[in-house]
């Protein structure tokens, strides 16, 4: 499984792997926001945590279809399915690779973009914490969506339609932590719930994703 992880990481970072794409998208989105809502500092300050969360979420979405599609097309997914590693483990590794190459970099980039959007000083820490805790859930849920649509030709759009509603609870609690934190309010409850979602998806999504993969590999 470590070998699989290493291979996926290398593939993602290599040219054509789409590694920088998600980060670039996050940046562009954040730049577009003031053009849409106006440059007033206090407006931006209030919406910054939410916008950054949505930006991170959408950027995660971009690279989801790559999780399984490439291996599916060239037959390596069939090989992985028959390998001694359980398919659930493959799903976890794939989700982890996605998080390391998408969720984690986005989390680290977010404070920089927070400067652009007038994020209040108290918000920087909570933004990073909420993203760090929440983006794994996004990768895991996304892996499930990718597994469902891996056999489809134009699966990308359907993938978004399926995955975005599933993202709602994570977004709600994640953005709450970031927003309340920025306002100096209490963040305990949403943070615990967010962590709960990440833990729950780690427990459940690999099984769901593996089930979907088995169906598609028949």
């Amino acid at each position: 499984m470590i070998a699989l992880l290493r291979r996926d990481l290398v593939l993602a970072v290599r040219a054509g792997g789409g590694f920088g794409l998600g980060l670039a998208f996050f940046l562009v989105l954040s730049v577009l926001v003031p053009f849409g809502v106006g440059p007033e500092a206090d407006v931006l300050a209030r919406i910054a945590p939410g916008i950054l969360w949505i930006g991170a979420l959408l950027s995660c979405l971009l690279s989801l279809d790559r999780i399984f599609a490439l291996d599916f097309e060239d037959g390596s997914l069939d090989l992985l399915a028959t390998a001694p590693v359980p398919l659930e483990g493959v799903a976890v590794v794939k989700a982890l690779a996605h998080w390391l190459t998408t969720g984690l970099p986005l989390t680290l980039l977010a404070p920089g973009l927070g400067v652009l959007l007038n994020l209040p000083p108290a918000g920087f820490g909570w933004l990073v914490i909420s993203l760090a805790v929440g983006t794994p859930a996004l990768s895991l849920i996304g892996a499930f969506g990718a597994a469902l649509t891996v056999g489809l030709k134009r699966g990308g759009l359907l993938l978004s339609l399926l995955v975005l509603p599933l993202y709602v609870p994570t977004l709600i609690f994640g953005a709450q932590v970031a927003t309340q934190g920025a306002a100096g309010l209490e963040v305990g409850t949403p943070l615990v719930l967010l962590a709960g979602i990440s833990a729950g998806t780690l427990a459940l999504m690999p099984f769901a994703a593996a089930a979907a993969l088995r169906i598609n590999l028949r």
């Binding site: 469902l148 339609l161 509603p165 609870p169 709600i172 709450q176 719930l193 459940l204």
Partner: protein, 242 residues
């Protein structure tokens, strides 16, 4: 004669062709009686005025929007465990009906709330949850349309329905937290559980019965269509191969 006999498509077609006219007929009767009674022969609410009459559409539609999804969940489980095609096709048939009920619940809910909230849409927790449910329905329907192979589509949509159900429940609570905070009671939402006076209650029950039967009739009708579609596809494939 066990219930599972009707998992056989032929048996299902026979039974449903006999049942359908009756179910449809009684449903129509209930709807006419309930809606006419509610619309014309009930008083106004002292607080909400005549908008309370929207209850006769909003509450049954909302109830059935949820129940339709539950039926799809059960049908999906039956497919996963027992591989009865009729069950998978029934789930597929029910989805657009459930979506329509959800949209009706949303629109009537928004219209009903407008005089109280002053806007055409408010992110009230209940309405928001129904909006999310509508998205789940759409994703489910889109998945059926996207996959070519019937059995694969049935399998994938069943998994989606299962996972979706978990997230639907999770979202319900997340949305409640999002709009009200965990420790506040519901304040703005249209409280269906409010003590509905008897004079409103009886026509409402009749309308609910009408909606349940209408759902049943539509699912019977649409499942028959899906069974025929599947058979047609198989026959055309056979022709193509020959």
């Amino acid at each position: 004669m066990s219930f599972w006999e009707f998992a056989n498509p032929k048996r299902f077609m026979q039974l449903s062709s006999r049942l359908l006219p009756w179910v449809a007929g009684v449903s129509l009767a209930c709807l006419l009686v309930g809606l006419i009674w509610g619309f014309f022969f009930t008083p106004e609410d002292y607080r909400q005025g005549s908008t309370v009459k929207i209850i006769y559409l909003h509450v049954p539609a909302a109830l059935m929007a949820i129940n339709a999804w539950l039926m799809m969940l059960v049908a999906s489980l039956v497919w996963i465990i027992r591989r009865h095609h009729v069950s998978a096709l029934a789930a597929r048939a029910a989805a657009p009906v459930g979506l329509t009920f959800t949209v009706i619940a949303l629109i009537t809910g928004a219209i009903w709330g407008q005089p109280m909230w002053g806007t055409w849409w408010a992110w009230d927790p209940r309405l928001t949850s129904f909006l999310i449910l509508a998205l789940f329905y759409m994703g489910y329907i889109a998945m059926w349309e996207a996959v070519e192979n019937g059995d694969t589509a049935a399998d994938l949509t069943s998994v989606l329905c299962l996972v979706g159900s978990v997230f639907a429940i999770l979202s319900r609570y997340a949305v409640l937290f999002w709009n009200q905070g965990l420790h506040q009671g519901a304040s703005l939402s249209l409280d269906k559980e409010e003590n509905v006076a008897d004079v409103f209650y009886l026509p409402l029950l009749v309308c609910i019965a009408g909606f349940i039967l209408m759902f049943l009739a539509l699912v019977l009708l649409r499942t028959r269509t899906e069974i025929r579609a599947r058979r047609l596809k198989a026959l055309l494939n056979r022709e193509r191969m020959a």
